[in-house]
Amino acid sequence: MNTSALILWISSITIITFATIYFFVKILKSKPKAEPDSYSDNDDEPR
C-alpha cells in the first residue's frame, strides 16, 4: 500500500473503532434508570 493510502486507512479505522468502542462501553456502564411508578412519575417537568 502506498503511504498516503495507508495513513488514511489506519487513521480512519482507528478513529472510528475508538469512537465506537468508547460509546459502546459508555452504554454498558450507564446505570439503568428506575421504572416509574406511574406515567406522570416518568415526567419530572410540568408541561
Binding site: M1, N2, S4, A5, L6, L8, W9, S12, I13, I16, T17, A19, T20, F23, F24, K26, I27, S30, K33, P36, N42, D43, D44
Partner: protein, 537 residues
C-alpha cells in the same frame, strides 16, 4: 437501533461510492457530513420520536403535530410513512436476493461457473421470464422474504424485531470480521488470487485530494450518510417513540451512529473491494464499480468464492449472503414499525392485523419492482422514495426542530436524561449548519450542472451563458430527459419499443407512488378528524 442503520449500504454501497468519489479522500467529506449532518439529524430524529411518544404517537404525522400545532406538519409527517412503504417495497426484493443466493450457495448452483456464467445467473434471476432453477424464482423468494418480515413484525417490537436484531447484529459483526480478515490477508498465488488483498485496500484508499473541492463528491458523501443511517425515513422516530421520557437518547444515538460507521468503514471497506481485486484485478473492478454496488456483490462474489473449492465456496457464500440478509432484515423490519404504529394508534388495529396490512401493501407495491425490474421500476422507487423523499423530510424535520419547536426547547429535549454531555457546539450546528447543508444538498441535486462540472457551470453563468442541467438533476429526471433522448436516438425498433414501454412504466410508477402519498395523507386526515371527535386534540 444500530440494526436499523446497518444495512446493504454498509457493505455494498459505501466502497463503490468511495471509489467513484476520490478514493481515500472520500472519507473526509464523508466524516464531515457524518458529524455535521448525520449526528445532528440522529439527535433530532431521536428527540422527535421520544417527544411524540409521550403523547401516544408512534408515527411521524402526529409526532410532528405534537411539536407544532399547525395543521401542515402532520401532512409533512406523511413522508415518514410514505418513505418506509416505498423503500420497503423494493428493499424486500433486494433482501430476497440474499435468501436466494444463500440457497444457491448451499446447493452449489454456482459450482464450475465462469465469471460470465455467474453474471448470467443474476441476469436470469431478475428477468422474470427467463427460466432459472425454480420457475418464477424471484417472485417466490420475494413473497417468502415478505412473509418472514410480516411474521416477525406481527410479533411486535420486543417479541420480534428486537429478537432478530439481538441475534442478527452480533452474527453480522462476527461474519463481517471473519470476511474482512480473509480479504485483507489474501495473498497473490494462493487459491486462485492474482493480487494481494492489500492491493484492493490501496485502490480503495489512495486519496485523490483534488476531488474534495468538487460539490458532486460532497453530494455523494451526504447521500451515503443519509442512506446508511436511515435518516429522513421515520423509522428512527418510530423506534424512539417507545422510549420513556427519562431514557437517554444522546448517548444511544451517538453509539448507534458510530456502530454503523464501524460496520461501514472498517468492515464494509475491507471486504468487497480487496476480495474482488484479489481475483479480478483493478481494471475489471473499476469497470464493475461503475455498475454500482449491487453488480459487485451478486455478479462477482459467487465466482470468487468458487476459487476456494466447493466446501469453502458454500460456506463463504452462505456467510456473505447470510450477512447481507441479516443486514437487510434488521432494516426492513424497522421500515414496518412506523406503519404498524400508525394503524395501531389511529385505527386501533392489533399488532397482527397491522403487520398483515403492511405486508399486503408491500406485496402490491413490491411486485412491480420484481416483475418490471429491467424496466427501471426498481430504480424509480429508489430515486423518489429512497433519495428525494428522505432529503425533503429531513430538511423539514431540521427546520421544525431548530426553528419552529425552537432550539432552546430542542436542546433541552436532547439533553433530558442524557448519559453523556453533548458538546454545546451541536446546539449551533443543529440550528444553522445542518439546515444549510441540507438545503445545499437539495439544491445541488435539483440543478446538477451538465457532466456534474460545477466549476464550468459557474464560469458559464458569470459569462452570461445559461446553466445547462445534467440529465441526473432532479428537474431533468422528472422530465425523463435521458430516456427520451435515448428513444429518439434509437434506430433498432425492438430496443425502441422496450424503451417506450420503460417510459410508460416509469410514469406509471410515479403516478402509483403519488397515489400512495395521497392515500396516506387521506388516512392521516381521517385520523385527525377521529382525534377531534374523540377529544384527543
Amino acid at each position: 437501533m444500530a440494526g436499523n442503520a446497518v444495512g446493504f449500504g454498509n457493505f455494498l454501497r459505501f466502497p463503490v461510492q468511495a471509489i467513484q468519489n476520490g478514493g481515500g479522500a472520500f472519507i473526509i467529506p464523508y466524516l464531515v457530513c457524518f458529524l455535521l449532518m448525520g449526528i445532528p439529524l440522529l439527535f433530532i430524529e431521536w428527540s422527535i420520536g421520544r417527544y411524540g411518544g409521550q403523547f401516544g404517537n408512534h408515527s411521524t404525522p402526529f409526532m410532528m403535530n405534537s411539536m407544532d400545532k399547525r395543521r401542515m406538519w402532520k401532512y409533512v409527517g406523511v413522508f415518514g410513512i410514505f418513505s418506509n412503504i416505498g423503500i420497503a417495497s423494493y428493499y424486500c426484493y433486494l433482501e430476497s436476493w440474499t435468501i436466494s443466493y444463500v440457497f444457491h450457495s448451499a446447493i452449489g448452483s454456482f459450482r464450475g461457473l465462469s465469471q460470465e456464467g455467474v453474471v448470467q445467473v443474476f441476469n436470469d434471476y431478475v428477468s422474470i421470464h427467463t427460466s432459472t432453477l425454480i420457475p418464477y424464482e424471484s417472485v417466490i423468494f420475494f413473497v417468502l422474504c415478505l412473509a418472514l418480515n410480516t411474521w416477525i413484525l406481527s410479533k411486535g417490537l420486543k417479541g420480534g424485531v428486537e429478537k432478530v436484531a439481538k441475534i442478527g447484529m452480533p452474527l453480522l459483526i462476527g461474519f463481517g470480521i471473519i470476511l474482512a480478515i480473509r480479504a485483507v490477508t489474501l495473498k497473490a498465488g494462493h487459491q486462485g488470487a492474482i493480487y494481494d488483498g492489500t492491493e484492493g485496500l490501496n485502490f480503495l484508499w489512495t486519496p485523490k485530494f483534488d476531488s474534495i473541492t468538487n460539490p458532486k463528491v460532497w453530494l455523494a458523501a451526504a447521500g451515503q450518510i443519509f442512506f446508511t443511517l436511515s435518516l429522513g425515513m421515520g423509522s428512527i422516530q418510530a423506534y424512539s417513540s417507545y422510549l420513556r421520557r427519562k431514557d437517554d437518547i444522546a448517548l444511544n444515538s451517538m453509539s448507534a451512529g458510530w456502530m454503523n460507521e464501524f460496520v461501514e468503514v472498517v468492515l464494509g471497506g475491507a471486504i468487497i473491494i480487496p476480495i474482488s481485486i484479489g481475483y479480478l484485478g483493478i481494471d475489471r473492478v473499476a469497470e464493475l464499480a461503475n455498475l454500482g454496488g449491487l453488480g459487485m456483490g451478486f455478479k462477482t462474489l459467487p465466482y470468487l468464492f468458487n476459487q476456494w473449492g466447493p466446501v469453502l465456496a458454500a460456506i463463504a457464500g452462505i456467510m456473505w449472503f447470510g450477512l447481507l440478509f441479516f443486514a437487510g432484515i434488521t432494516s426492513s423490519l424497522a421500515m414496518g414499525v412506523p406503519c404498524v404504529g400508525f394503524m395501531q394508534d389511529e385505527f386501533k388495529w392489533n399488532q397482527n392485523k397491522s403487520a398483515l396490512a403492511f405486508g399486503l401493501i408491500i406485496l402490491v407495491l413490491g411486485l412491480p419492482t420484481v416483475i418490471f425490474f429491467n424496466y427501471g421500476v426498481f430504480d424509480e422507487y429508489d430515486y423518489w422514495t429512497g433519495t428525494v423523499s428522505l432529503f425533503t423530510f429531513a430538511l423539514f424535520e431540521a427546520i421544525l426542530f431548530a426553528w419552529v419547536f425552537g432550539m432552546k426547547k430542542g436542546w433541552k429535549e436532547i439533553n433530558h436524561g442524557a448519559d453523556i454531555k453533548v458538546p454545546v457546539i451541536y446546539k449551533y450546528i443543529i440550528k444553522y449548519i445542518t439546515p444549510v447543508l441540507l438545503i445545499f444538498v437539495f439544491v445541488g441535486a435539483l440543478i446538477t450542472p451538465e457532466n456534474n462540472d460545477w466549476q464550468q457551470a459557474f464560469q458559464s453563468v458569470s459569462q452570461g451563458k445559461v446553466w445547462v442541467l445534467d440529465n441526473s438533476s432532479l428537474i431533468k429526471q422528472l422530465a425523463n430527459s435521458s430516456l427520451k433522448e435515448q428513444i429518439i436516438a434509437e434506430t433498432d425498433l425492438t430496443v425502441k419499443q422496450h424503451l417506450e414501454t420503460k417510459l410508460w412504466l416509469i410514469n406509471g410508477t410515479r403516478i402509483l407512488l403519488l397515489s400512495v402519498f395521497i392515500g396516506i395523507s387521506v388516512l392521516v386526515h381521517i385520523a385527525y378528524k377521529k382525534r377531534i371527535k374523540n377529544g384527543r386534540i
